[in-house]
Each structure stands twice: as structure tokens, then as C-alpha cells.
């Protein structure tokens, strides 16, 4: 001990204060943010410059095309034909009614508008978690609304003029097809999923066969089947409405995808829940309805919404059996001689893309919102 002390006898005491270090660099505000996120080092700076170039190369011509040079108002194609560097929004404006309602007769279009309102009245309160009466809401979505709008749109009763489905079209028809697809795919998907997990081999085999065949082939072939083969499968004289055939094909296809999503949820419910339900003396259907399915569906809500998004996008394929939903209505109007110019196609397609995008993006944001809302309890 003393040895150490003797060694450290020579020591140094600092007599003046150390000069203050410079203040830390600002960590808030735009410049530090840019330093951290855009120009961190040489590589980062190069990436930023490349990104900026790409963004400008895409954005500037796009803005010029869509806004600055666009033709907004014109009675016919002449202004658009003269303007080859800008979009022809006048074309979209002139055909807007057709894009929304198809060839649904003009004086009857209020019925379609009412349908839109009724649809929103069912979906909006369902989507907001804090709105009460979810049970009635479900009844409305699955029973009341479809029946009421069926009468409303088809007409023929209560003094409404009959409107045949052949003149339905546009966004309206897209919504009809996807709504029916969604509303049918959920219950049938649940049934198929339960069947696939059933202990009865015959039930399981039938469900597996149906699910795998539908999921293995493109929707186009399923629609071809619904469009061409369905009339062959039934006795002569039985004929189906074209729209009904399309709805059959789309719903069948969507149900099979839904079944796989729901099955994922069923598998994620712990076995103890099944055993607990059985121990309480619940039968199969009571166990599924009260214990398993509520948990399973909650787990796979994002997957369900993703299937809905896929279904909504897939409705664009029903043109195969000459059903004119939004995309094919837009496409058909390209050949209209009043508006055929070199920019017509691009303008129409951009419009259709925007409509599809708003619906799908809305759904995907909602799915993320639900995911966040439901996952709060399990975050680490």
C-alpha cells in the first residue's frame, strides 16, 4: 500500500478551468434533420441526389401533363387532338356519368345514388369501432341492404321502372360486384375453412378440392367457366342473367381465398380455447360461434381486408363475360369517335386508376388502423 503511495507522490493538480467545448450541434429543425436523413455521409448524399433526379424526372413531366398542359374543358375532341402534350380531362368530364352509372337510364340514376348512400350508411358505422348496434348493423349489411337495393336497382315493383342488368355499368357495377363478392365470400369462406379443418374426411376432401382448384387457376378461367360452361351444366331452358354468372364466379373465387385466410385464424386460436369450450359442454356450432370464430376473425381482419382489396381489383376482370364495370366502361369509351385522340386513353386510364386507388388505399389504411387497434395488448 505504502509502496503505491510513494510511487504516486508526484502528482499534478490542474489549476485553470478546461476551456468549454462547443455547444452540441442542433438536433432539431430542418437542417439537422436533413443532415441526419439526407446528407449523412457521401454515399447518402449521392443516393439523395440520384433520388432527387429520379423524382424530378418523373414528377415534372407528370405535373405538366396532368395539370399545366391539360385540356380541362372542351365540347369535343378537337381541343384535345390539338394538344398532344397534356391530358384530356374534358373527355373524362363528358363521360363522367357513364363512368359512374354505365348505361343506367338517365332519369333513374337517383336510384343508383340512393344505393350509394344506403351502402355508405351500412359500411361507415360498421367501420367505426365506437358506433353501437353492431348486431343490427351486420343484419343490415348482410340482409336488409342487399334485399332493399336489389328491389331498388332492378325495379319492377312499387312503381319503379324495371332496369335490366345489361345496362348496368361503371363504378356502380364495380361496387355491386365487389359488394356481393365480399358479402358472400365471408360466410362461405368461413364454412369452407371449417370444412377444411373438420374431422370428417369426406367433408375435408370436398372442401380442400374446391379451395385448391379455385386458388390454383387464374380468375379469368373461373369466369370463363361461369360464363361459358354454366349454361352447359344446366338443363336447356334454364338461363342465368349474365351478371348473376359473373357474381357466381367472383364469389366462388373470393370464398376460396377467404377460406384460407380464415383457416389461418382458426389455426392461430390456441387449442385450450377449443378444449375449454368443449369442457363447458358447448356443441360444435356453439363452440365455433361463441368462442373460436370471434377470436379467429379478429386475428385475421388484416388478411380479410387484403382479400377484399384483391377482390375489388379483380372485379376489373368481369369484362371477360361482357359485364361493363368501371375499367371496361372507360376502355369502351376510347373508341368513341367524338373523343378518340392520342391522349384519350392515358387520361381515361389515369382516371380509372385514381378511382381504384382511392378505394383500395382506403381499405388498406383501414386494415392497418384495425391492426394497430387490436394489437395494443400484445405489444412488447
Amino acid at each position: 500500500m505504502s509502496d503505491i503511495q510513494s510511487q504516486t507522490d508526484v502528482y499534478f493538480i490542474r489549476r485553470e478551468i478546461v476551456p468549454a467545448s462547443p455547444p452540441p450541434m442542433r438536433v432539431h429543425g430542418p437542417i439537422p434533420w436533413m443532415r441526419a436523413n439526407l446528407f449523412g455521409n457521401i454515399g447518402d448524399t449521392i443516393l439523395t441526389l440520384v433520388g432527387l433526379t429520379v423524382a424530378l424526372l418523373v414528377l415534372i413531366p407528370l405535373v405538366q401533363w396532368a395539370f399545366i398542359h391539360a385540356t380541362w374543358d372542351a365540347p369535343n375532341r378537337e381541343a384535345c387532338a390539338a394538344n398532344t402534350v397534356g391530358a384530356c380531362w374534358a373527355f373524362v368530364k363528358a363521360n363522367f356519368g357513364q363512368f359512374m352509372y354505365g348505361r343506367y337510364p338517365d332519369p333513374e340514376r337517383w336510384r343508383v345514388n340512393l344505393f350509394f348512400v344506403l351502402m355508405a350508411a351500412g359500411i361507415v358505422p360498421m367501420a367505426i369501432p365506437s358506433v353501437p348496434f353492431k348486431g343490427f348493423n351486420l343484419l343490415y349489411i348482410f340482409v336488409i341492404f342487399p334485399v332493399v337495393s336489389g328491389f331498388l336497382l332492378l325495379g319492377g315493383l312499387f312503381g319503379l321502372t324495371p332496369v335490366e342488368t345489361a345496362v348496368w355499368g361503371g363504378l356502380f357495377l364495380t361496387l355491386v360486384v365487389s359488394y356481393v363478392g365480399m358479402a358472400l365470400s365471408l360466410p362461405f369462406g368461413i364454412l369452407l375453412a371449417l370444412g377444411r379443418r373438420s374431422a370428417m374426411p369426406a367433408v375435408r376432401m370436398v372442401c380442400v378440392f374446391l379451395i385448391e382448384v379455385c386458388r390454383g387457376v387464374p380468375l379469368i378461367t373461373v369466369l370463363f367457366m361461369a360464363g361459358i360452361l354454366l349454361p352447359l351444366f344446366f338443363p336447356t331452358g334454364v338461363s342465368f342473367d349474365k351478371l348473376a354468372r359473373a357474381l357466381f364466379g367472383v364469389s366462388l373465387f373470393a370464398s376460396c381465398y377467404m377460406a384460407e385466410v380464415i383457416r389461418g385464424g382458426l389455426q392461430a386460436v390456441p387449442k385450450g380455447q377449443y378444449e375449454g369450450a368443449k369442457a363447458l359442454g358447448l356443441g360444435y356450432w356453439a363452440m365455433m360461434r361463441l368462442i373460436v370464430l370471434p377470436q379467429a376473425i379478429k386475428i385475421v381482419i388484416p388478411g380479410i381486408v387484403n382479400t377484399f382489396i384483391g377482390l375489388f381489383k379483380d372485379t376489373s376482370l368481369v369484362y371477360i363475360i361482357s359485364i361493363f364495370e368501371l375499367l371496361s366502361t372507360v376502355r369502351n369509351s376510347f373508341t368513341d369517335p367524338t373523343w378518340a385522340t392520342s391522349t384519350t386513353a392515358a387520361s381515361g386510364l389515369v382516371f380509372a386508376a385514381a378511382v381504384f386507388w382511392i378505394f383500395c388505399f382506403g381499405m388498406s389504411q383501414y386494415s392497418q388502423f384495425t391492426e394497430r387497434r387490436l394489437s395494443t395488448g400484445h405489444k412488447r
Binding site: L38, T221, T236, I320, S342, F361
Partner: protein, 393 residues
């Protein structure tokens, strides 16, 4: 009371329909009868309908002359049989899917990694790309490429030229390689050098395992392949010539032509699916816990090795299965080429079933192809999963 009653008490009589076993058998019998009955009824209806319409069922029509022609990669003429036309459609489906898969994978990988970048701008561009493309129907993307992009390209006479390649609204024209007499030697040399390169890699790995000494196996292998192949090519006297597309008055003859339908379908499927692949790549990389990267750094691996030896192998386990199903989706979505007149299996089938009325047979061929493909892919996925699954104690 209870005691005296006990003698008269008998358990409730069990009805057969309350017995789970009997019930399950009964349900299954009913189901099987229903399904068989339905199938029989449908078959009966179908045969009656077909007889009434005078359509002979069976695949004999495949040998008949088709009488129509479509632009395909195989040289079909209107004299070709239905069977050959369908085969050409099948080949087209495979070719367009193959190239779309390559584009989608490369683009998806870049965008997926860009979404995880620390650079705000790069991240935002990648996010916009993904959110934009994912929420639009693939058919619309295809139509957009076909009607708005390719159709808006300059006409043939002032096409974009890059050497002997040209890009116009008639598609892409490029030189066609013509293999000379001795080209097979170059090919053999390539194969042999490939074998040697793999041998070097094995040897280097074995040596590293035994002694810990590393060897730049990849670079050496690449050098061997390039040098040997090139040497064989030059020694046999440069046996490769190109047929350059020549402008005639209205068209271009010779060379290879990629029609606009093919180009737009390939690009559309590529950029559309890339947005899904980007998400798969992103989630795969994020699934590798940060501790893995930290541990790899702690044992002294440098950046590229951390990625190659630690992160990627674990990320791939998460990435590959959904990636395979995206590849399958590309193949299925290539049937949308029907909308722009690309002669894939479905489009050709559509042309076949209209004149012949053999709709059942054509739909059966479609289903056979697509189902066969999904079964093959899911089988390959099971094998792959079994190989890379976590080995737990």
C-alpha cells in the same frame, strides 16, 4: 326418497343421432350422395346439351387444322393444328412469365431494400412506388403500358435507336444471333469451366474448414469461366454472327422482334408484382432480429459479410415461400394478356373454343396447366421449407 328412486332411474336413452360417430358418418354419407348426385346431374345435363348442339366431346379436335393464326414465339401458321396453337400459347405464357419474374425480382429487391433505407428521400420514393402500384388492378397496369406508354412511343420511322436495337410503338427490334458451325465448342467450354469453377469453390470451402485460410473462390471461378469460354470462342474462329433488323419500306424484317403486346405485358407484370415483392423483401429483412446483426458485428464480421452470412440466410427463410407464390401469381396474371391480344394459353384457348365449341376440353387444359404449375411450385416449396426450417433441439 333419493335412495328409493335410484332403482327406477335409468340413464337417458341415447338416440343414434346424438352419437358423434354415427352422426359424423351420416353427415358424410349425405354429403357424398349430394356431391355425387350433383356431379351426375350436371354431367347428364352437359351431355344432353352437347348432343343437342352437335358437339363431339373429347380431345380429337386438337389434331384439326386451326384456320387462324396469332403472333406467337413459335412459328404458327393458319395451317397449324389446334393442339399446336395451344402449345404455342403455353410457350408464350412461360416466356412472358419468365421475363416478368426476372424484372419483378430485381425491381422488387431494390425497392424493398430502399424502403428500409435511412435516407428519407429514397425511403419515400420506394413507399410511394409500393403504395401506388399495389392498389391498382393489374389489368389496368397492363392496359396503361399498352395503350398509354407503348402506343405513345414514336412510330417506326423515328424510333429510338441504340446501336442495332430500336424501340418504337411496334415493339422492340433487336439483332438475332446466328450460331456458326463451331459454336458448340464454346458452349462445351462454358460448361466445363463451370464445373471447374464449382470444383474450386468446393476445394476452397474444404480448405477453409480444415485450416481456416480463405480463398477468393467466387472471383477465381468467375475468371476461369470468362477466360475459358472466351478462349474457346476465339480459338474456334468467332463463330457468332448477328442478323441485324433491316428497315424495309413499311416494316422491319429480320432480327428478333418483341411485339408491343409482349413488351407491355412483361413490363406491366414486372412493375406491378415488384411492389408486392418489395413488401415481402422488406418484411423478410425486418424479421431478422437486430440482435443477430449486432452479434455478427461483435464477432468481427464486416458489413458485407454480416449481410451475406447472417442476415440474408435468415431473411430468405421468411422471403422465399411468399416469393414463390408471387411468381405463381405472375404466371396466373399473364392470362390478362388476353385483354391486349397477347397470345398466351388463355387467349389461344379462347380463340379455339369459339369456333369448335369445345369449351369443356379447353377449360380442362387451362386448369390442368395452372393446377399442375401450382402443385409443382408448392411441392418445391415444401422441399425448400424442409431444408431450411429452423432445426430446433
Amino acid at each position: 326418497m333419493a335412495v328409493t328412486d335410484a332403482g327406477r332411474f335409468s340413464p337417458p336413452r341415447e338416440h343414434w343421432y346424438n352419437n358423434p360417430k354415427a352422426r359424423s358418418i351420416a353427415i358424410q354419407i349425405v354429403l357424398v350422395v349430394l356431391v355425387v348426385g350433383l356431379v351426375a346431374w350436371l354431367t347428364n345435363n352437359t351431355t344432353t346439351n352437347l348432343r343437342e348442339r352437335g358437339i363431339a366431346s373429347g380431345f380429337a379436335f386438337l389434331g384439326q387444322r386451326a384456320g387462324f393464326d396469332m403472333t406467337t414465339f413459335m412459328s404458327t401458321t393458319s395451317e397449324s393444328t389446334y393442339g399446336f396453337m395451344l402449345l404455342a400459347g403455353l410457350v408464350d405464357t412461360i416466356i412472358v412469365s419468365f421475363f416478368a419474374i426476372i424484372i419483378a425480382t430485381i425491381l422488387g429487391l431494390i425497392v424493398g431494400i430502399a424502403r428500409l433505407s435511412t435516407n428519407w428521400l429514397v425511403r419515400t420514393i420506394a413507399t410511394v412506388y409500393v403504395e401506388l402500384l399495389r392498389n391498382i388492378p393489374p389489368l389496368l397496369v397492363i392496359l396503361f403500358w399498352y395503350l398509354a406508354v407503348i402506343a405513345a412511343l414514336p412510330a417506326m420511322k423515328d424510333a429510338f435507336q441504340l446501336g442495332d436495337f430500336s424501340l418504337s410503338n411496334r415493339g422492340i427490334f433487336m439483332p438475332r444471333p446466328i450460331l456458326g458451325d463451331n459454336f458448340q465448342y464454346t458452349f462445351f467450354a462454358f460448361l466445363i469451366s463451370l464445373v471447374i469453377a464449382f470444383g474450386v469453390r468446393r476445394w476452397a470451402f474444404a480448405r477453409q474448414m480444415a485450416t481456416g485460410k480463405t480463398f477468393p473462390a467466387f472471383r477465381t471461378g468467375l475468371a476461369i469461366v470468362v477466360v475459358l469460354t472466351l478462349a474457346a470462342f476465339l480459338v474456334t474462329g468467332d463463330p457468332l454472327t448477328f442478323e441485324i433488323p433491316a428497315k424495309t419500306r413499311f416494316n422491319i424484317s429480320g432480327g428478333w422482334t418483341l411485339p408491343p403486346e409482349f413488351v407491355s405485358l412483361m413490363l406491366a407484370l414486372g412493375v406491378y408484382t415488384a411492389s408486392f415483392i418489395a413488401e415481402i423483401v422488406r418484411s423478410g429483412i425486418m424479421a431478422v432480429s437486430h440482435g443477430q446483426t449486432e452479434a455478427a458485428r461483435a464477432i468481427g464480421l464486416k458489413g458485407s459479410l454480416v449481410l451475406r452470412l447472417v442476415v440474408l440466410p435468415q431473411a430468405l427463410r421468411v422471403i422465399i415461400p411468399p416469393l414463390a407464390s408471387e411468381y405463381l401469381n405472375i404466371t396466373k396474371n399473364s392470362s390478362l394478356g388476353l385483354a391486349i391480344g397477347f397470345a398466351d394459353l388463355v387467349a389461344v384457348g379462347n380463340n379455339v373454343l369459339n369456333p369448335t365449341g369445345q369449351s369443356i376440353e379447353v377449360v380442362a387444359i387451362w386448369m390442368l396447366f395452372y393446377l399442375g404449375l401450382s402443385i409443382i411450385i408448392s411441392f418445391a416449396m415444401n422441399v425448400f421449407n424442409a431444408r431450411i426450417a429452423l432445426t430446433e433441439r
